[in-house]
Amino acid sequence: MTIAARSLPAQRLDDGRASKAAAALSAIDVFLRSNQTPSFIESSVRDEFHYNIGFLKSVSPQAFTRAWRTPLAYLFSRVCYESLHAAGRAKTPNDAALEHLGVQYGEDWQPALVKFLRKLNLFCTAAALNDGVKFSISPGLHCETPFTIPSTGLTIAKENSSEVQACTLFGTDGRSVLLQVGSKNLSLDPESSSNDSTLCCSRCPKLDAGEQQILMQPYEISLLRTENSAVLTPDNILDFQRNSRQIFQAALQVIQIYAPEIFAELKDNLQVIIAKPRELGGITNVSDSHLPGLMIASLLAEPYELADTIIHEYYHNRLFYLDELEPLLIKSDNGSSADLYSPARDDLRPILGVWHALYVYLPVFRYWAAVYEDEHLSDHLKSYAADRLARFGLHLKIFDAQVDLKHEAFTEAGDKLRRKLHLEVEECFSHLAAMNIHPSALPAFECDDDGSIRPVTASSDGRHLNVFEVVNHHIVSHCPEPRRTELLSMIEANCLH
């Protein structure tokens, strides 16, 4: 039995967003030349912005599109637009914009916005490199290593070091990146070995995804001094990408084999994967609505489990996209308090988090169903796949029930999708019985970071626990009453009848 994959309409996820970001760029240029421009943006910055727009219009559409269809370009235009919108009304930008501007609590955001507007120079440098033409930045743009030129995969850094080095970017001669460190002028050519000992320019590793490529560029978000970029501080993070490449490549191959419909869509939309050691940063994996097509993923040495992570994070990206097409949650509920139990987390979550979980676990369940049905699978992977199906089947029932508690938080479009997902959860759960998978009779397993698959045991007597007991235990440990009793009754009814 196979469960049909659900596909989006035949369109690229990022077409609309990249075009919208380009339209916003043009609108910002018009606004900065109008007499309504906020007075704190000096004329030199406005003139430079206008000059840069002219440059981007002069390069080939291929070079511009390549530079612009990047997660950072979307973020750049969105943050500029939203901040200028707020500035025009003498308001403070929204929290997400402030975070991406790098503004700390209590700091003045206006100078940060002025600096941020000048980062358009980076996209001009990228477009110039893509087209092999010159582009000059005057005065130069202050940068701190390590950083990347968006879309090119180039890394500017001290060799094998994430040490911060202040430098000034002056653009490109069409081939090399032109910089100044102190009083020393540098011309860094990624294709030659003549890199200066002060700084070097190298290319990040890439993953092959069909006819497409995915950059493993840890510095794609380095220009943002946010909590996410803080996870990218180790000296060896670029080497970590190189060393992780093979296992990520294997994970993509697993997706291609077991979830070909997802792979066909993912390869066209996923642009950057940043691998990180699992223990780094206090987080495992990250997807951000402001960085479409980018994910931060913790390395796992088991490609089947890593494929699960990639599908999971990709579907967060996908739901952000659907939400941008048409809002799915009533806006006031997006920032609602974290009061919902989630079987996938030890902390309580807002409706947005549980809603995303419901959406992303469905394709992950289908992926494991396809893996489980592979007759050539090793015994330990077969056992693990069975655990995932039983566990995620129960998780889906719980997510669905939790989302239903907040049904009034959904827009009409969101409610339509919510009802559709409910039916899919029922379908997945009935699929479990058809595969003769029963959570209360199925030994539970976990995948360790080194890829080993281990039984989940009771610490008291070492007994191998079953999946029902593990899920049950998490509810008892983390779900507040009275919901705890209700959910325990629900999963008992589904598992022990």
């Binding site: 380009a22 910002i28 269809r69 009771a458």
Partner: protein, 60 residues
């Protein structure tokens, strides 16, 4: 990185373009609307980050 099968021609995105025009109007408008058009009627901001969950050797 170039995954486009649809090129974006910035030179064609003038103020005559409907989307550009609506963005400009909103930026220049003195109306105190709730949010920038980017997010309303479009998406709200969000970030999904996983955190470690209880694993192995459960104390029953």
């Amino acid at each position: 990185m170039d995954k486009s099968n649809k090129l974006i021609e910035l030179s064609k995105l003038t103020v005559e373009d409907e989307v550009v025009k609506s963005f400009v109007e909103e930026l220049e408008s003195a109306t105190d609307s709730e949010e920038a058009q980017w997010t309303q009627p479009f998406a709200a901001a969000g970030k999904m980050s996983g955190k470690s969950i209880t694993k192995f050797d459960i104390d029953l």
